[in-house]
């Protein structure tokens, strides 16, 4: 047993990589699928908040991420956009990360076209702004000052959706899809606490634990954390709509489950071999 553990202790890292790859690729190839029960929690809180808003509300969605975290955040963007459009809300997209401006366009166009929503009437993509928190503060007095034109160069004043939107105070809800800084922190600080706007969010799993502090104080009204949060939201959006597509995150949750078990097995085996070998070394004569 000890010899096996010693061999395991010296195992090539590439064997670990291979096992990791298999734990993801095999469940995906087999199209394994597990049901995703959505209990009470921040995902449902965000869904309920959007559900409770009157039709025609204006929601500002900030795409504060880039392709490196797209697998987690883009499914959230798509599911949120689907939900808001089906509820009749209008969306203003923007980005505090440069590459978020392209990713937002992709999500908005795909969902908008599929649901028959018109750019500039039902949604607009203002594009990227530099300056993070400073820009948000400026948007508190004038959004036009930060975005004189939209992503494609269309003047702010000639966009029908924006005729009654002058500052952040004309927005009903802010949602930041955040991969780090600038992101949710900046929105909660500036839009939430400074201008009194309700703030919701979606974030990478890495940063989800820290935002529970904002949930606890009511500074955020809901949060989607990582792929699980995205899958939760997709599940809630699909409730009562049998033929709705599965979404982008839900099919990945089975692979996520298996990969978590594999990582846990790595930790357990690593600890057993550590304990056995460590004990032996401790007992060895100096």
């Amino acid at each position: 047993m000890r010899k096996i553990l010693e061999k395991l202790d010296r195992v090539d890292r590439r064997v670990i990589y291979l096992l990791m790859a298999l734990s993801v690729f095999v469940p995906l190839s087999l199209r394994l699928s597990y049901p995703i029960p959505v209990g009470e929690g921040p995902s449902r809180d965000l869904f309920d908040a959007i559900e409770a808003m009157p039709s025609g509300s204006v929601v500002l969605v900030s795409y504060d991420y880039d392709p490196s975290t797209m697998p987690e955040l883009q499914p959230m963007a798509v599911a949120l956009t689907q939900h808001m459009f089906t509820r009749g809300h209008r969306i203003i997209a923007m980005a505090l990360w440069p590459q978020g401006a392209s990713l937002s366009q992709e999500a908005m166009t795909a969902v908008g076209d599929s649901l028959g929503k018109a750019q500039y009437d039902d949604w607009v993509n203002l594009g990227y702004t530099v300056g993070a928190g400073v820009s948000i503060v400026r948007m508190g007095s004038s959004i036009r000052a930060v975005f004189p034109q939209d992503r494609d160069g269309f003047p702010y004043d000639s966009i029908p959706l924006l005729t009654r939107v002058q500052s952040l105070r004309d927005i009903d809800l802010v949602i930041s899809l955040s991969a780090g800084d600038p992101g949710i922190h900046a929105w909660v600080m500036m839009a939430g606490d400074r201008f009194g706007l309700p703030v919701g969010g979606g974030c990478t799993a890495v940063s989800a634990p820290e935002f529970y502090t904002y949930l606890g104080t009511g500074q955020m009204l809901g949060l989607l954390g990582g792929l699980k949060g995205a899958a939760d939201y997709e599940t809630m959006v699909r409730e009562g709509r049998e033929n709705a597509p599965a979404g982008l995150a839900t099919p990945g949750m089975a692979a996520q489950s298996i990969a978590h078990l594999v990582i846990m097995a790595f930790i357990i085996i690593g600890n057993i071999s550590y304990l056995v070998i460590h004990k032996r070394r401790k007992g060895a004569p100096k």
């Binding site: 590439r14 990589y17 990791m20 790859a21 993801v24 690729f25 995906l28 190839s29 199209r31 490196s68 975290t69 797209m70 697998p71 987690e72 440069p98 590459q99 401006a101 594009g127 990227y128 702004t129 530099v130 928190g133 400073v134 503060v137 930060v146 975005f147 004189p148 034109q149 992503r151 160069g153 003047p155 922190h185 909660v188 600080m189 500036m190 939430g192 606490d193 400074r194 990478t204 799993a205 890495v206 989800a208 634990p209 820290e210 502090t213 606890g216 104080t217 009511g218 500074q219 954390g225 990582g226 792929l227 699980k228 099919p251 990945g252 692979a255 996520q256 990969a259 978590h260 990582i263």
Partner: protein
Amino acid sequence: MNWEIIGIWLGAVLTLMLYSFLYRDNPFYKFAEHLFVGMSAGYWVIYNIFNVLKPNFWDELTGAGDGSPDYFMIIPGVFGLFMLARLVPKIAGLSRMALAMIVGTGAGLSLVSTLQTNCLSQIEGTIMPLSGVGTMGFIDNLIVVVGVVCGLVYFFFSKPHEGITGKAAGAGITILMVAFGASFGYTVMARISLLIGQAQFLLFDWLPTMGIHL
């Protein structure tokens, strides 16, 4: 020419080049890595020109936006040039002016905002009732109150962690360990999610271009 399929192949080949690093560092990985850096920088500059510099600076300065030129925009323009002066060693000192403006504005903004959002609001949120909330509510609130106070004691290094302070700091590090454990769990989840995203791309976007449907 089917640009969509060419695009999928481009993405897949670059993906596999980067994954080749898992075997060992190699020229394919280095090629893709350097290409990524260059293209990302190009993307940033272009978006900066089209989404910030042109509408917020040039159009304002020349009046191309609303018809009335704003000559005060010369000031940030000059400060921006000061920033670029860092590239020329002889006049690099000018960049201090631009840095000072960035740092001063950022510091002034974050001072009040951080104090309000991450400090005062959090303290307010920790003032919780311990009675009239049921048994579970009592336990939960007690854990939060004691956890926050003891966690802060752990970060307080002006007094040696001995006696009652040491015990409080010990309780603090315990609650921090639970929080770090949760963070670790979420970190694992995040990294695997990213791999799942790329695996889905290879399996369900790229393989079908070769007639392999899973």
